[in-house]
Assembly symmetry: C2
């Protein structure tokens, strides 16, 4: 008998491995931060002795979800303003609120976001915002896996000040968090419409020098396309291709307004796409041509975007929307089937973030990022098909256990790394200041 | 001090009355099946002494949600088949499964649906299916308010046999449940494409004789419109107008594919509309022109449709979809604002069902159909705007208390009228037979 740290047993193990293996009455053995074995429970318990055992009670054991696009600290602005024209929303509510941001606010807002994400089964997220060192610190303390980067644009930032300091801030972040087991620093220009070609080239160079991923908002709406066409004579994607910014380590958020040539470019450069349907719907940005991107063989993950435009971080609700929105948009009920969408929320999301080799599926040797879904609930009865339940019936509140890097962050809906009452009190305090 | 049976206190009371009154630190006094008073808590506790008190713990006290279109017993087929072409889905999965239906299956499936609905804050539903006496019985035992009716079409039914027996079955139902405090029987032809004009006229006569509401699927897709145009030379709405079927007691489900003339007809006859966006999305039926219907002054409620095309009965997820879908469809972020959508899910839903005078809002004299939302959860922090939270952030699992007709059906997430384990076991057993 080999000793292991953790055994998760008595569930249907949805591995999301390349073969799509589903193991009924399966179990997962974890040692340290890694998965040792995924197998039928009988076989596994015959070989391993575990220090701690988690009983999935007949539920679903699966990889934690990967949220490929967040502005985590915007939890502080959840519901501050909705149902408004975009410019009113930004100029009268979001920008004034963001002008008040501090390291501490971003830290507390991110802790709230991590609480919500862990409770709803997200184990990895990719963040863009201000004061991202606070985001990294909060994620690290919460025990979550995160790709984070400071948002950079041509004008001064409430955090670092002038743009050149932004480049330095990013390089300092990369240095500070290098080789961290949970945190990866990304280089994150906001978008082509607020970043000059020169700034984008400088940021690309920083990413290249450090082997860092890059994140950018891209082609979020037709308005952005019109704006970039007017300035540069090309679509946003065409513009980025022209200045040499497209590459396989680029995570492009939204990609709503694309031409056929744009899609070919994204595929040719192996750019990764983060799809955020609920935010795109709420802000009336448009519907991204995801079925076409998938046909092109482009890797697409799913994100919630920030809480000011969603207004939650529940990836289960997001995948439900992904599956349904494209069906009605294409008038084809067969597109974006439940298995495809589950893949996008797990292994493909990990690939989008450059973490496909270490997370996103339950396979021996991978990091132990695992969640358990309780299916003994009226809205999950009966169960004919696991993928169907995950996409069309479950919500984040059905997740009962969340594990990241081998550490149990939530068990039976109780957080282990975060004092939820303290976090809630801190953000409620921040909200008082925002209202004032 | 006046004695009352029940006091719900310590919450923000969202009344959904015509003035949109919101009472911070409010309370609701209930005596028997009725609301006696809705007021500031201090004032109310000075006048009333309650036998039982429910502490909303700072949460939201509001009217229970009204699900205006369900096929409740289709919980038995939840996830049986998804992502398929409509005809494959119907002919290869749903119709064969429905051929096996019995009174007992419908009864158990409806008990599961009631469990799910009560747990997610729905207090009233409007059902169309087979063996509806079983639905009425299950709803009554669960303590839910329901409008139910046997589906009628030109061909024989697995329940009543030949169509003439369907008319008799409906009249028997009306007789059996007349004056029931919870159950209202409706007359329910399936649709214009499987009901002859003569059958529709006969059913209309039954409804008229008995003062019963009518329910029909109407203009669910362009295909239906093409079909009816070919047969009758008119749109489905135009056809129903022509044969005298449109009236103010008609509940029209879906109304996806409408012409401007159709909308005028619906308004002229004061037809009520049940909007089911998630089902319409999943089946790729299309997007109903709800913002336009509202501009016409048509009363629109929200429904989930059955669990085979959704796949849950969570009205909170449905209202989130309502608010977002129409924004992206019209490319206008101001349409279907959160307050409008909340109204559709409560008082307007009640009006759709002909129950607007007795339920759908918290006002003295109305039936006590009340839910409590717990907001001490990370995804509901902070709170700037109640409507925003209900529509964009909450899910059914945030409902902690559900009360119908003054009876507490769920408290602290525990059902009082249904043995949830027994119901789950019964439906899992049924599912074994469906798989076989």
């Amino acid at each position: 008998m080999e000793s292991i740290d953790l055994l998760i047993r008595n569930g249907s193990v949805l591995t999301m491995d390349p073969q799509g293996t589903l193991i009924e009455t399966g179990a997962v053995a974890v040692s340290g931060d890694r998965i040792v074995k995924v197998e039928k429970e009988d076989a596994l318990t015959a070989s391993y002795q575990a220090t701690k055992t988690i009983d999935a009670r007949g539920g679903i054991i699966m990889p934690g979800l990967v949220n490929t696009h967040t502005h985590a600290a915007m939890t502080c602005f959840r519901g501050l303003a909705d149902d408004l024209p975009l410019m009113t929303w930004l100029n009268d509510y979001i920008f004034p609120a963001e002008a008040k941001l501090t390291f501490d606010i971003v830290y507390d807002g991110t802790r709230l976001a991590c609480s919500e994400m862990i409770l709803s089964g997200t184990t990895t997220f990719c963040d863009m915002y201000l004061f991202e060192d606070a985001v990294a610190q909060a994620a690290k303390e919460a025990g979550m896996r995160a790709v984070v980067g400071e948002v950079i644009y041509d004008f001064p930032s409430p955090n670092y000040g002038p743009v050149e300091e932004g480049l330095k801030y990013t390089e300092d972040l990369i240095e500070k968090w290098r080789d961290d087991p949970l945190i990866t620093i990304a280089v994150e220009p906001h978008s082509a419409y607020v970043c000059s070609p020169e700034l984008l080239k400088n940021l690309h160079a920083i990413a290249d020098r450090n082997g860092a991923p890059m994140v950018i908002h891209l082609a979020e709406s037709e308005r952005e396309v019109d704006d970039i066409r007017e300035r540069y004579g090309r679509t946003p994607v065409g513009h980025l291709a022209e200045i040499g910014f497209l590459s396989s380590n680029l995570i492009a958020d939204h990609c709503v307004a694309l031409t056929p040539e744009d899609m070919t470019l994204l595929k040719d450069f192996d750019v990764k796409v983060a799809h955020n349907p609920e935010s795109n719907m709420k802000l009336a940005s448009g519907i991204a041509p995801i079925p076409e991107l998938l046909k092109h063989g482009i890797t697409v993950g799913i994100g919630t975007d920030g809480c000011a435009s969603n207004n939650n971080l529940d990836m289960f609700q997001e995948i439900d929307t992904v599956a349904k929105l494209h069906k009605v948009h294409t008038l084809d009920p067969t597109v974006m089937d439940a298995q495809t969408v589950t893949r996008m929320a797990t292994i493909d999301g990990a690939r989008v973030l450059g973490l496909g080799d270490s997370t996103g599926s339950l396979e021996a040797g991978k990091k132990a990022d695992i969640i358990v879904i309780d299916i003994r609930r009226p809205h999950l009865i009966p169960m004919y098909n696991i993928y169907s339940h995950l996409v069309y019936a479950a919500t984040g509140s059905d997740v009962v256990t969340s594990i990241v890097n081998g550490q149990v962050l939530m068990q039976d809906r109780v957080l282990t790394t975060l004092d939820v009452d303290e976090v809630i009190a801190a953000v409620n305090q921040i909200a008082q200041g925002i209202k004032a």
